[in-house]
């Protein structure tokens, strides 16, 4: 547990650097990220490097006892490079080249940019790979930001064709996998295939899904190139990348697998503004952020990080990039920081040291104002630094980041792509549904691991699977072997890996666990919800929204080598009699997406069946447990009082009464 900050020495007179470093140190900052946008200063003219300023900046930080997180500067290729190689620029879905003048103006598939990136990474890594102050590396910055994963350039199409050739081997195999016969879309060679864009009506969904897979793989390949260079020049220093909040345009599991630290950039207020939340929810959490949004991301990135994950960029005040940009309430910077640590973060690094007075982000707050006075975030960061000391002192025998919670939620990147491409209902937004399931679990007091569909499931008591269209062949077996109660959302198992309907209809390979057949589906308009009668602990009425799977119950299943006719138990029905929620063995299948209260009630019951006890918390309080401590966060407008069962001396942060925006922690 330590604090960091993002710093841009190139933005400020060199005369300020020493004081900056000293004040960072005094504040309790341990590490400083630099140089991710500094290419034009490192190499102002093609081939002529200016290392002097950067040497001095790193030396200054190091001399102050700060560890440097050094970055490759590839997120912002300079103008001269673009002018040399205009084909570096990506191409949008509208067919227009996306130009120079902001950032991320490069195409992952551009050979020229791949080569130029290799060259600058080599140069930076060679220069600083062994520098004593450089403790960590960051590759690039926020891969995919501003919709830059996918490009429709000729270079991308060329590599896509090779990718397809590698995946399918023969064009006949591709035609079969995609079902191109449908509208005479059959190809005679891979060279006939274009990007799936600009078609008269919707492009082929399998074609689109493969294009997204390809684009995701291009990110992985590009990042791996950088990682390989850094490892060669700077062995032993952990390599990170800063991912984004709820960003799912490439497969983060794959990219993270090449890294040592998965980090993410946390802007709870900007996220609230930009995501799907209803206007009244955006008003309720206006200056706190949604209580489960940052947590969700913490759990996502913890799940894919070899070393403890970091928050590489932590919102310290108002940002500039949402539609509306309110300020965090006093206390929220501290609360967010502790929330990260409570979820296992190794570092919380504030963005940025000082608000820049110029350019696109001049309205983005920092720990210091542009006139170099401490902003509110500074005091809160200082308090966190002190509290970290208190917690570490109170820790008995160190902390264990890998404590397993009994609850896992499966998050899948392809699911996001597939439902975007093939929604069947205009508001079928996978990230929303995943967060809603997560939020229900958190509101019940559970800590949650967020895991890949390929992750081991042993040890979990409750596994929750948001709509998962493509199910690996071994998933049913692994779910069964886990012994956990399993809750599965609608549309799970509804597609093959080629984006076809499985031969046995949904739930496809899960039919082995779930003796049922989804013979029909419905998507529901926003002004339609369907009454559902739950037969749980007493009758309960709820609402189904967005979607209905219509289920035929019963199937032959193989139990202990015997074929047996199995029929699931019906636990809820729609008002027209169709099953809304069925259970077979340990597997619970939800045929729709229920309202918040029903989802919580349902998860609570299944949790009890799994032998774990829910602790309903409402919409303001959240609890996290880790490393022998329990943290309690107050997102609401009223005070919260810790149980009298907790001895005074166990409280190591905050106090028994938790004010709004407060956090307390106690040994547990």
């Amino acid at each position: 547990m330590r604090l960091g900050v993002c710093y841009y020495p190139e933005h400020w007179p060199e005369a300020m650097w020493k004081d900056d470093a000293a004040r960072m140190k005094a504040l309790g900052i341990a590490q400083v990220r630099i140089a991710e946008f500094a290419w034009s200063r490192i190499e102002p003219t093609p081939g002529e490097f200016d290392w002097g300023w950067l040497d001095r900046a790193i030396d200054t930080l190091g001399a102050a006892g700060l560890q440097v997180v050094m970055c490759t500067p590839t997120a912002t290729p300079p103008k001269w490079l673009i002018d040399q190689h205009p084909d570096i620029l990506p191409v949008g879905a509208d067919g227009r080249v996306r130009g120079f003048g902001s950032r991320r103006h490069y195409d992952f598939s551009s050979p020229a940019y791949y080569e130029a990136s290799r060259r600058i990474c080599e140069a930076v890594a060679a220069r600083y790979g062994q520098h004593p102050a450089v403790a960590y590396w960051q590759t690039d910055n926020e891969y995919g930001c501003h919709q830059t994963v996918v490009s429709y350039s000729p270079a991308a199409v060329k590599r896509f064709r090779e990718w397809l050739k590698a995946r399918y081997g023969s064009i006949d195999a591709l035609n079969t996998a995609w079902g191109t016969v449908f509208w005479s879309m059959e190809y005679r060679s891979f060279d006939e295939i274009e990007a799936p864009v600009g078609t008269v009506t919707e492009a082929h969904p399998s074609h689109r899904l493969d294009y997204q897979r390809f684009a995701s793989d291009e990110v992985q390949r590009y990042n791996r190139m950088q990682v390989d260079i850094l490892r060669a020049h700077s062995p032993g220093r952990p390599i990170a990348h800063n991912f984004m909040q709820l960003f799912m345009e490439f497969d983060h599991y794959k990219v993270a697998a090449d890294l040592d630290v998965a980090t993410w950039d946390s802007y709870p207020l900007g996220a609230l503004d930009q995501q799907w939340f209803a206007p009244e929810v955006k008003a309720r959490y206006l200056r706190t952020g949604h209580p489960d949004f940052a947590s969700f991301n913490h759990d996502v990135y913890r799940g894919m990080s070899k070393l403890p994950f970091w928050v590489m960029e932590q919102q310290p005040g108002p940002v500039n990039w949402a539609h509306w940009n309110p300020a965090p309430l006093p206390g929220m910077v501290r609360l967010w920081s502790w929330e990260a640590f409570a979820h296992g973060a190794g570092c919380v690094s504030y963005f940025r040291w000082r608000q820049a007075p110029f350019a696109q982000e001049q309205m983005h707050a920092g720990l210091n104002t542009p006139d170099n006075r401490p902003d509110l975030g500074s005091a809160e960061a200082a308090r966190v630094a002190e509290e970290i000391e208190a917690v570490l002192a109170a820790a008995k025998g160190g902390r264990d980041f890998d404590v397993k919670t009994p609850v896992a939620l499966v998050l899948d990147y392809e699911a996001k792509w597939l439902f975007d491409i093939h929604p069947q209902g205009a508001d079928f937004h996978y990230p929303r549904f995943a967060v809603e399931y997560y939020s229900a679990l958190r509101a019940l007091g559970f800590d949650v691991d967020i895991v890949s569909v390929h992750a081991p499931l042993d040890g979990y008591r409750l596994v929750v699977v948001p709509p998962l269209p493509i199910v690996p062949d071994d998933f049913a077996q692994r779910l069964a072997n886990s012994g956990a109660q399993v809750v599965i959302g609608p549309r799970t198992g509804s597609k093959t890996v080629d984006l076809q309907i499985p031969a046995n209809l949904p739930p496809g390979p899960l039919a082995a666990l779930l003796p049922l057949r989804v013979w029909r589906v419905e998507s529901l308009r926003p002004n339609i919800s369907e009454l559902v009668r739950f037969d749980m602990d007493g009758a309960h009425e709820g609402q189904a929204r967005h979607w209905r799977d219509l289920i035929e119950l019963g199937a032959l299943v193989t139990i202990a080598g015997e074929n047996e006719w199995a029929v699931p138990e019906v636990r809820a029905t729609f008002s027209d009699g169709h099953p809304a929620y069925v259970k077979s063995g340990t597997v619970h299948y939800l045929a729709s997406l229920f309202d918040e209260a029903s989802t919580q009630a349902l998860f609570a019951r299944v949790a009890r069946e799994a032998g774990i006890t829910p602790q309903p918390l409402g919409d303001a309080i959240r609890v996290s447990r880790r490393g022998g401590f329990t943290w309690v966060f107050n997102y609401g407008p009223g005070t919260h009082t810790l149980s009298a069962d907790i001895p005074d001396e166990a409280i190591v942060i905050g106090s028994r009464t938790i004010e709004p925006q407060g956090v307390s922690a106690y040994r547990s």
Copy 2:
């Protein structure tokens, strides 16, 4: 009255075909449409035809006693053809080429595609023109789907110039007709004229209207080319095309005139989602469709079909292409089928035999699920097949499709284009207003003929004319000669054929019947409606929406050779005293678009004046009469009971009590 189905043998293993055919036959299917998207299988390589599979498919169907509706495959040119002739691709309003990868990726004006179409049509027609199983032909598929009527390609512009030359003769005539002097838009030769798109502000409306007329004529020319080929190779076999629901981008009267059968593709739930209906209306009819929407289309296409019209594609379950895709309530597939027959359909053909497990439409239901089990639609289709037998048995002396109803509604394609191009109020949506008038008539229990403005009007008692900006010179005389009461919507006669204001102001040529002058108009915001006081059977207050014609009453008219000053009777006034509804002789002029209740009350009164008796039905029940039978359809949530006056033995379908989604028919 017979059933059909759409079938894609190329999507399924040949081993399944025989069973498919047998099961179709067993279900009561008489005809099977095939091959409209099969070009890449018919001609997988340029010039090399593979007829074998198609021969066998047709033979299999024929052997089972099924009639084949054979299609030309031109809606989906294969990739190799596009690669040979990239100028086949159409160009969108944004100037971008609309690419390969879905369907309808061709430009009606492309010489290369015209030639390629001629070649493939010749080949198919020559191969199957005399095949005993081939009973009918379909040209192409859904002309204009996905906004493909209009293209802005160089090829289109070239042909547009020729079209203009033929229409106007000289460039001076064009300049005068359009009024290009207005903004120095005068042309010195036809070669200076571009497509009316991409201009700094709105393009010239006459230019735009002519471009739409040209594009419509291009569809007609293209279809006629196919028809000529089919007639040459397959004389005597009726030729159809499958038009779309409420689709008005080309003049269907003109295209249908070259065909034998006008057919349309009926998707009541998808239509409800996509059309203008208010959210609460979309909720009310979520799983039934709007009770007047399919009927409207039946009446449109009956009016232009030489042989009894067909529903070429009937929705059998949920579709995939609307924003949200609910499932029809049980019974609706039967109800929709009977509704078509009650409106004079010769065939109802379900789309499709079996849901495809791949590609763009994999979520579109069929009569069978992808795992080849009968879906709900199958049972309903089977019931319809049985009921057809009952009706035919009960029919006394055959059915007469041409029974004239006393009520006609005039539908005009140019009106749609003109109001789109030149709306004057942002929500002046012609199809909506036409359907609203139709719906009011249907809610009053009337059967309605929908006719062209050029159709004979003799025999009708009531003629309803939704807003009709361009009125043919002889229309006033034909209306007068018909003897019918005539209800005319606002904006009628407001434009000349060149899209100018008539010299005498609106109603232009109708001033001979209507001694009034529309000296000013207003379009009204959605949150504005104007109070109207109707002096009908007792006073009645209603609301005017969207539009107001301000009328000066009185004109010199020639009556029996004498010039006479005539003043219409005022039957309703706006609250500021302007006339809202006036009557002159048999002609009723509405100066606005009234609320639903007022429109119904007004139509009811005029109907009584015409000597026909309205039978108000509300918003759930609809009645159709044809061939000696009366059908009663229940779109609502409650039961409906037939009158005790109807003897039990007269009821040939259903029963006296009609359940929700039920239909009964009785001899009448």
Copy 3:
């Protein structure tokens, strides 16, 4: 005070001209604007001029005693010119060329068009510069209409680079001014700089602001070229341009400085439909227009006109170009005309003499209908003509257009651009906030001068400054010297001229007057407002919307040469305790944008402190004083009665009781 009309002889048979002229004269029309769109008639073929018709038209008007406002026809270059020089066409933000077929299809930076414009202006000016009937000139027509100020053509980029070179001298200076180091956006030469468009994410705000400044300067340069030609050929005849309502895309102060008369085109109903007003406001003023909208524009253009400003185009009935186009209530044409004169107009010129029956604007009313009968506007214009005589007769010793009102509002074009480019809150719409401040002043009964930030402020008692991000260095001193009470909106002084945050934070250079520091800001969602407690004449609660400046109070200020710690008085606080409104000396700083009632109450109090007495008028009545007369306008649905203190004989227009849409005037 005189009336005019816009006339298009080229649209009508020459046989009608003489009668048209006679009827204009009879109606009381004094001047006639012609020929602004007539290039294709003046020069139908390259280089071959057809002056005959135009000679005869001008002679006909002159012979009838009418003065001609002659126009340069450059708003509509003919097709042959575009075909000769396609690079005349502007390029949109989407990279597409904006084509021929409407109007304003030219790029201000096109060398070919600059030359062609010079040539046609020379020809027209040489032909008519000394014509006795030609009394005035108009350059072009509505510069910037249809978003044509900014073009992204290569020609524009070329000139932009030169503009930058002239502004910054060296590329280093530019890099520093913009802060291009931020994302490695540094340039090595001016030739590397592109237009700030099509970037991956938002382009650099300083780059964008400079591009807008450049584009504005291009308009000025282009207009000055025309002015220079006209002055050379037609010395002594005033030159005008017709600006648009609330149009702020170029700096009108600069362009007007080259003219003699600033005129504008007034369409109150179209404006209401298109601007930000809430639907209920649009309904309330549907057929009158907003009571402060035309006035605002009158005051804007009066402020920049050397001779009395004109309304060059006055809406006479419904227009065609808004989303919905209602008709003015009877009386409104008269009311609008008098409102213009009451604000100092020299001429009100109706658009147009007769509604055209063809082309894009055929649904735009004129004084006469297309069948050449007087429309309602004619009678109202005739009444105004008579009333002008009455007023002039009653005027004691002539009218004084330059009477100073005690209230000034500062309007700034760069502020509009800056907030568009750099809003920080999605609805921070500068023109709206300026009009809201103006409206509050007008509702308090004040006449208002609208002035540039560079205008002299002496003599004003109250100066209101809507959000003004860039404050000139001398502004604080001029405000202080004026002796006026000064009300300053939020965000004032928040940016340097380079669009950076000032080194001392906002209010930047105004800190000399305002001892405070804006250390944080918030933008607020539309469903968020913050409670404000005002300590004014008794406590008052109001709402803050859109924005909050968080203020640190107190600073060292230099008073009479002494440095002194000054702290402003807090007059309102937000519910979280932050100051919402503070006062220091004569300067009032508002930290947010308050609701309408609070803004009025606040302005009223400050006005009283300034020694001027507000006269609250509500939302229907407006009063203007000028030249010894007071006009009272009734925008509401009820009657209004003038005070009994006004003697009957003082009333020169209308009567004591003012009907809805009525206007009265009395000597005062």
